[in-house]
Amino acid sequence: MIKSVGIVGAGTMGNGIAQVAARAGFDVVLYDISTEVLKDAMARIKEDFRRGVEKGKITATEATEAFSAIHPRRNFGDMGNADFIIEAVAEDLNVKKEIFKKLDAIVAPEAILTSNTSSLSISAIASLTKTPESVVGMHFFNPPALMKLVEVVRGRQTSDETTKTACDLALRMKKIPVVCKDTPGFIVNRVARPFYGEALRLLAEGVATVEEIDMIVKMEGGFKMGPFELMDLIGIDVNYAVTKSVYEQFFHEPRFRPHPIQRQMVEAGTLGRKTKKGFYTYK
């Protein structure tokens, strides 16, 4: 029975996952190399819980309990007692490999090691551990507290038992796990590619304008957001990077080819909402 969850990396995803885990009744060790980040993360978590109480989503007692279950740590060894590790550090294969190698040396042999990577291969991340069968992907979506989906990614050597344990843990966190094979983009980041790719081509071919395409997609198709509004929200640079990553990992499969419009917008520095200029202009 899993009691203690170790989270590596206290950034956007790490602190969100820590909240969800603590709310599900786990003891959480939250680790980051940066003291600053850890301090910010704990302040953010406190604030999120406070707002949860304010909105009546949780009681004050629950919030206090959950908050005190999260232990910020700067000593890597403190994660040695965790039964289940969720890694959420920067998206860099070498950094992640190094962390998994170090984790492998300190955790109990039966501990499960998971990564929140959105684009790297779980099989590659697991390769430096002695127990690749205990390594599995756990792809949460941003923000983890709100998004229900977790893609449980089976690496080449991941065991059935590890997969099941990860699914059970996701369910205990009130998430909906979906098992998928370790392939580029997993499910969501792969299957969603044409939503952007075709919209960009339609625009370039002059079939319709940005505004028209967004309107048609919403009114005719029932989508909540049009592709261009969504790219502006995600960030043109982030969307372009995901597309490029999936494209390259599939050895340049043309279905995933990025569009020159994306690259040009990145080069122009018009990245969407965050720069106030993307497919639309924001005040």
């Binding site: 229900k148 979906v178 997993f186 499910i187 969603a192 075709e198 028209e212 198709g221 279905r255």
Partner: protein, 248 residues
């Protein structure tokens, strides 16, 4: 607006049934004829089955996406029988309005329609014109969409138009993922609905539209662009043969 007006609809099921029901609902008198390949489909009560197009109709619809041969036959027949100035709205998701306008003698009255099963659940219909389409026909097409309670968007005449092309490409990609064993069918749908907020999962969407229809759009895109990007997923092709995915 539609009170007492007459619409004559030719084409395949379920598109004819969907459009005929909507028109009936909005006060049109509806005449319909199903293609030979859709003969067994049932038309709701109140819709008159006709053996040939009604000459005196106020507006005509041709709704065939799959069999281009049947589509061409229907259009030529409509053009020949229906009074000369009456507009013909013809689905143009698998063959452009421009190409269709070459089949008939009065192409000025032809307007492309973004018709694909289940899309009438939305609130907008896409229209496209060929170079030959005249202004009164465009106005009549717009008026028709209004009369059936929809908004319309006039887009450039291109295979798949906007929404059908995007949705069919999503479904095609989901079929590749399913075929490659990335995840189970239901799980792909769940992931897309929860992860990206899509109204339907791409596999369930393909089933709602009909695998044959999705296949027809994809095959047309592939032929039009000649690019591997639009290659039809073999699983979709297999599914289209039976109109269900292999294995259910």
């Amino acid at each position: 607006m539609a009170k007492g007006k007459q619409v004559c609809i030719l084409g395949e099921s379920p598109l004819v049934v969907e459009y005929a029901s909507l028109c009936l609902n909005k006060g049109f008198k509806v005449h319909a004829r199903l293609n030979v390949s859709s003969k067994s489909a049932k038309l709701p009560k109140g819709i008159k089955r006709v053996p040939k197009p009604t000459r005196s109709t106020d507006i005509a619809l041709e709704l065939t996406n799959i069999s281009i041969k049947e589509k061409k036959k229907n259009l030529i027949e409509l053009d020949r029988i229906v009074r000369p100035k009456v507009p013909i709205l013809s689905s143009c998701v698998t063959v452009t309005a421009a190409e269709q306008s070459g089949w008939i003698t009065r192409p000025a009255r032809l307007i492309g329609l973004g018709a694909l099963p289940s899309l009438l659940e939305g609130t907008l219909i896409e229209l496209a014109t060929s170079d030959a389409t005249d202004k009164p026909s465009i106005a009549a097409a717009k008026e028709f969409t209004k009369a059936v309670g929809k908004n319309c968007a006039l887009v450039r005449d291109s295979v798949g138009l906007v929404l059908p092309r995007i949705v069919c490409m999503l479904a095609n990609e989901a079929c590749f993922a399913l075929m490659e064993g990335v995840a189970a069918k239901r799980d792909i749908d769940t992931a897309m609905k929860l992860g990206t907020n899509y109204p339907f999962g791409p596999i369930e969407w393909a089933e709602r539209i009909g695998l044959r229809q999705v296949f027809a759009v994809m095959a047309a895109l592939h032929q039009e662009f000649g690019e591997d990007r639009y290659r039809v997923a073999p699983l979709l092709r297999q599914g289209a043969l039976q109109n269900v995915f292999p294995g259910g």
